[in-house]
């Protein structure tokens, strides 16, 4: 059974970290794009959406070149923090984070744009700091939209294959995630393992998707009220 549980746990770990990273970076980017006006704002939005439309292998190749030991960024990470992204689970986290990023920042931007700025002004007049206004008014009102995006990002990160394979490879127990394990099992003719892995993956993905739909429906209803 180890050949099922090990990749499942690894996938959950990688997808979990990717979601946490996107919770911070995606929400911050969405807020920034929703609240600032500058030339090239929509161009930046398009550029940040690229990971969604680019083939994952191409994206993985870019990441490999960008963070490899011979690159400036890669050698800096290695020399300063001792972090090596190539062929490690941290590399898988990087790949999943980048691929899932647009799924978080886009709905976050839309959710922040829907918050009535007058409510934030009311908070300021009532003596609250900008930080308090964000956490007590803006974020709670945008939260449902953000959460739906995070769930989609989690599902997408869980299913990540191409970019992860490029940067982290397929080392059993270390970087062999669920979707890569499915591929390896089929290649090796281990039908039983492949069936199990596919069933588990499907179950997780369906429940995440259902939660996301349920959340975004609730979002619509609260807006009508």
């Amino acid at each position: 059974m180890d050949n099922v549980w090990v990749p499942l746990l690894l996938s959950l770990k990688v997808a979990g970290w990717a979601t946490v990273i996107n919770l911070v970076l995606g929400v911050a980017t969405g807020f920034f794009l929703a609240r600032t006006r500058f030339p090239g704002r929509n161009l930046l939005d398009s550029l940040l959406t690229l990971p969604m439309v680019m083939p994952p292998t191409v994206l993985g190749y870019y990441l490999l070149v960008l963070t490899g030991r011979n690159s400036a960024l890669g050698s800096w990470l290695h020399d300063t923090f001792g972090i090596n992204l190539i062929f490690t689970w941290q590399g898988a986290v990087l790949a999943s984070s980048v691929v899932a990023f647009p799924l978080v920042f886009k709905p976050a931007r839309a959710a922040f744009e829907e918050v009535n700025p007058q409510l934030e002004q009311a908070g300021r007049v009532l003596g609250q700091s900008e930080l308090a206004v964000f956490f007590r008014i803006t974020l709670p009102l945008a939260w449902r939209g953000i959460l739906a995006g995070l769930l989609l990002a989690f599902a997408r990160a869980l299913g990540e294959f191409g970019a992860t394979l490029m940067i982290a490879g397929s080392i059993p127990g270390q970087t062999q995630t669920l979707s890569i394990a499915v591929y390896e099992a089929v290649q090796a003719g281990q039908d039983h393992t492949a069936n199990l892995l596919v069933a588990i993956t499907s179950l997780v993905c369906i429940s995440v998707l259902l939660s996301a739909t349920w959340l975004s429906r609730g979002h619509d209803r609260s807006r009508q009220a």
Binding site: L119, Q121, R124, V125, L126, S129, L131, R136, S222
Partner: protein
């Protein structure tokens, strides 16, 4: 009570608007009267610190809130003014009690549903909101919403109360009743009030100093004390 010199140019793709006026008044009730688009909302927002004038001076109740020559610009949260927004700007994710209690809590967390404080109970009782205190804004009637917003502003014990078209969101039958209630409240609390309106009936009802604004300028110098 109020001393004001104000200069502000707003430029949008569709129009260029110039607000320029100066006046001072010791009246306890000041009615700023003018058609929509005359700049009176901009004026009120400048008083509250929600808009920054290009140049000028704002003094309310003996405190200098803005002085371009001395580079003073007190942020909205420190102006100690009550602001009643035109459509009340109640926080939709908080119930009536939490809305009223909003300013009593500092930091990044909202007041809990059952927050205890004698001041909240006093205001709920004064405005006959005790029975509906656990309802959310969309469940309240127009009059209840306005009273909740008033209580939320007054619980901060502001130096002055600014009201942006306070009766326009109410149906006509209720308006006269609320005018009477507001006038009584003002006499009881002795708090200076600055009301913005384009409704001739407000002009007829309130025994107030009147300031007529048109196209960003004072119309006549007439200030009936």
């Amino acid at each position: 009570m109020i001393e004001l010199r104000l200069d502000k140019t707003l430029i949008s793709p569709t129009r260029r608007f110039h607000l320029q006026l100066a006046f001072s008044s010791d009246a306890q009730r000041l009615l700023i009267y003018g058609p929509s688009g005359s700049g009176k909302s901009l004026l009120l927002q400048s008083l509250a610190g929600l808009q920054t004038p290009d140049a000028g001076l704002i003094k309310i109740a003996g405190r200098t809130l803005f002085d371009s020559e001395r580079a003073i610009n007190v942020p909205a949260r420190q102006r100690q003014l009550g602001f009643l927004f035109q459509d009340y700007a109640l926080f939709p994710h908080l119930n009536a009690r939490q809305n009223i209690a909003f300013s009593l809590r500092r930091g990044v967390l909202n007041p809990r549903r059952g927050i205890r404080d004698q001041r909240i109970d006093d205001w709920l009782q004064r405005f006959s909101l005790t029975d509906v205190q656990h309802l959310y804004p969309h469940q309240l009637s127009g009059g209840q919403r306005q009273r909740t917003a008033l209580a939320r502003a007054l619980i901060t014990e502001p130096q002055a109360l600014l009201l942006d078209e306070p009766f326009s969101a109410l149906d006509p039958a209720l308006r006269q009743h609320m005018r009477r209630q507001l006038a009584d409240l003002q006499s009881q609390l002795g708090i200076p009030m600055i009301i913005i309106s384009h409704d001739p009936q407000d002009l007829a009802f309130f025994d107030a100093a009147v300031l007529q604004v048109e196209a960003g300028r004072l119309k006549g110098a007439a200030l009936a004390e």
